[in-house]
Symmetry: none
Subunit: 464 residues, 2 copies
């Protein structure tokens, strides 16, 4: 039996306990965007540290300007004779609201039977606890089977990925020497489908901003003032409506500068994938693609920039009616970026677009909510072929090299600050409902993901 | 001394006790929208009944489907030989919140000195306790001076004007025979300014609706779905933005049907009023009139129909960001109506306007929030000239015949159910802050208002 095969057997026999450990972590409501859960975030960080130390890693939860940063070093000595990977994940999760739409409590994980197999249902089951625990459990199985890990491993698990990752940039800059590695492994993406693994090669960037419009200096009686008094909801609605034309094209001047045309070869590849646009939208109760009318749905998600209003509020929103001209209205807006689009340039262009549409007697304020650059992976790295081989061995199918509509800002940070390329491999699925109620992670994703990382460790170490 | 002059003298000598009685009533926190104050509403109703009985009226507090209805009959026998008026007011008040903005407790009335005279500060000081008590105290003064009232008077004081007036419609329908009169007198409006009385001749109507748009069947991750997934906030913003053109004109087909052009004579009268549009808007931090660009600000408030979004909500509205394509967005919209605009027709036209802009794969639902017809007083009624003469005698200035931007639904109810025209005379002022913290009523409004009703009683009775 090879070391890899022994470790795979250990994964299988230890799966129940692996699941128990994952459930323990899930139960900690580590919602980073809400200060009420600061202690929970700390608790989750400490829990991860304890797990890593249990695997013989030198690990701790470092103080940052924000949430604690888990850093661990383990495996073979990083003396240049063995591969050295830096594994990234995040222990923080999205808020769970709206709570009334969950079929079980978001922080009480359930193992649910379905016609397509068992599912772990909880906030964080996929994003990102289930995902990063596949790697931790792979290390555990390898150690249990073989006594020592054959590659050098640095583990970096942050606590603010869902709330803007304020701390990790400065942290990486301050600890460059400690975070040396050959390549980063990021487990925060998905498979092509439940049977087909993937390596994600393109990530959209992000620019998030909040807009606050004030009209009258207080809510007004709409009989007394309705007509002449400027309504900030009307001002805001006009701004938001103007952002797109009827063909789905964003109207901010200069917005498409730096947006590359998709190479024909890539477009042909994507068109050849068995992507069912109708059922992709149908799965969520939609049928009419809302993006740029002259692009396929896959392009709309993977390689075209977008704009979405994530939230809006203004005036009276309680029961019944209140006939006011409200004083204030605000909206949270986020843009997905591609190619050479520049977050700072887009932010200023957006703010200028807004200001140009605010009447002289109203005020507008802005608040930065976050951002990060778009990215494209370097597929020529030797580790990529090894990871691809490991995935093919586990799933019996070659991985799809796919784009990703989402943004994973850390990948840019790894490149810019640590000089590291990243390989993005994950085991999530489109219907995992991440960021939504009833988030789930297939048990098979957790199991086969753990097995896949065991194979990756073996492949990087030079095992066949 | 005429009967009127004797009664006026009685008003003046009895002012302090009149104020004491008003303060007693104000101290009862008769907030109708809050069930916790049901007993207070009953107490206020009983208090009014007691006052009316003290004036020799046959009065009681009738049970309704909601709050008790005060009905009183007094004065001369209504045998057709004397004028018969139905006086309306309401004993319920608005909630007082936000409490922290009051300079004195809202239900502990203060008589406050100011550079422009004394003011009564309390919730209900103007709306409507101070206002209707001017009439009650006028009757008292007349009786004290002259022994009996020269006209027939029915008093109808409801307890739900601030909470939708559910009961008064059915009550009036059930008691039509008891509520016979020549004309209704409604004391719930204001003066032109502190020195100039007014008769309100136009009231805008109302149509209130709520719109709910659903896009995806749940909140979606905007990386995974942003682009092709329809965003209901974007759909709603487009709908709301389309409601007005850049000249402030409402774009719903047929909206302006039944909107009369202002008679030149009325327009000339309004243009001649010393209305300071700049300081009207400046008082609330605005300067650029937002209504129809080709209309004066007074027309925009008094005689033009409007549309306002009173509230909007959708997606994530908490702290920080959540990168979702939300499932839902909704808005509360209200229209002020004029002339022959029909509430039901406008509601359907608005809903058709919305439906036409909802993509095929989204759903829209509506909810009625309320409404009422616009009203224009019949100024040719003989009582109008008598009331105008009485006001001119008191203030030394002819009353302004003014519009009112707001809606007073009872006026429509009097016409439709009881066949009664209404004469709207009140002594409130724009800065009384009704519905707001630190509501006040000038002592001079209370005093001169009471004197004005004495003169009205005399004028209706045929005194010069």
């Amino acid at each position: 039996m090879t070391a890899t095969e022994s470790a795979l057997a250990a994964v299988d026999t230890g799966l129940d306990q692996s699941l128990d450990r994952l459930f323990e972590l899930i139960r900690i409501p580590s919602i980073s965007t809400d200060p009420a859960h600061d202690a929970d975030c700390r608790k989750a960080a400490d829990w991860v540290v304890k797990q890593l130390r249990g695997l013989g890693f030198k690990a701790d939860a470092r103080e940052t300007i924000g949430k604690p940063m888990v850093v661990g070093h383990g495996g073979a000595k990083p003396d240049g004779t063995v591969p050295h990977v830096l594994f990234y994940g995040h222990y923080d999760v999205q808020p769970a609201d709206p709570l009334d739409l969950w079929t079980s409590p978001p922080f009480e994980p359930q193992l649910v039977d379905t016609p397509t197999g068992k599912q772990i249902v909880a906030r964080g089951a996929d994003d990102d606890k289930g995902q990063f625990m596949t790697f931790v459990e792979a290390c555990r199985a390898w150690l249990a089977a073989n006594g020592s890990l054959p590659i050098a491993i640095t583990v970096l698990i942050e606590g603010e990925e869902e709330s803007g990752s304020e701390s990790i940039g400065p942290f990486m800059a301050a600890h460059k020497d400690e975070l040396i590695a050959d390549v980063a492994l990021v487990c925060d993406t998905g498979m092509w489908d439940a049977e087909t693994p993937a390596i994600t090669t393109m990530l959209r960037g992000m620019m998030k901003d909040e807009v606050f419009i004030t009209g009258p200096d207080r809510d007004l009686h709409s009989g007394m003032y309705g007509g002449p008094a400027r309504n900030p909801i009307r001002v805001l609605a006009r701004i938001l409506a103007d952002l797109h034309d009827d063909a789905g094209r964003i109207q901010i001047p200069g917005f498409y500068d730096g947006v590359p045309e998709l190479p024909e070869a890539v477009k042909a590849q994507w068109d050849a994938l068995d992507f069912d646009a109708a059922s992709f939208l149908g799965d969520v109760g939609l049928s009419v693609p809302a993006g740029e009318a002259d692009r396929s749905v896959l392009e709309q998600i993977w390689s075209r920039p977008t704009c979405d209003v994530n939230g809006i509020i203004g005036g009276y929103t309680g029961e019944g009616s209140k006939t006011i001209v409200p004083s204030k209205a605000s909206a949270k807006v986020s843009f997905r970026l591609v190619g050479q689009q520049d977050e700072a340039v887009i932010r200023e262009a957006f703010r200028d677009f807004v200001r140009a549409r605010v009447p002289a007697d109203c005020t507008v304020e802005f608040k930065v909510l976050g951002g990060g650059p778009p990215l494209e992976a370097d597929l020529s790295r030797p580790e990529v072929a090894k990871v691809a081989g490991a995935l093919e061995a586990e799933f019996g199918k070659a991985p799809v090299f796919m784009g990703c509509g989402g943004s994973i800002p850390i990948v840019g940070g790894f490149k810019d600050t640590l000089g590291l390329d990243s390989i993005l491999v994950g085991f999530g699925l489109d219907d995992d409902a991440i960021h939504s109620p009833n988030e789930k992670y297939n048990l098979s994703s957790f199991h086969r993901g753990t097995r896949s990382w065991v194979r990756v460790i073996g492949a990087l170490a030079g095992e066949s």
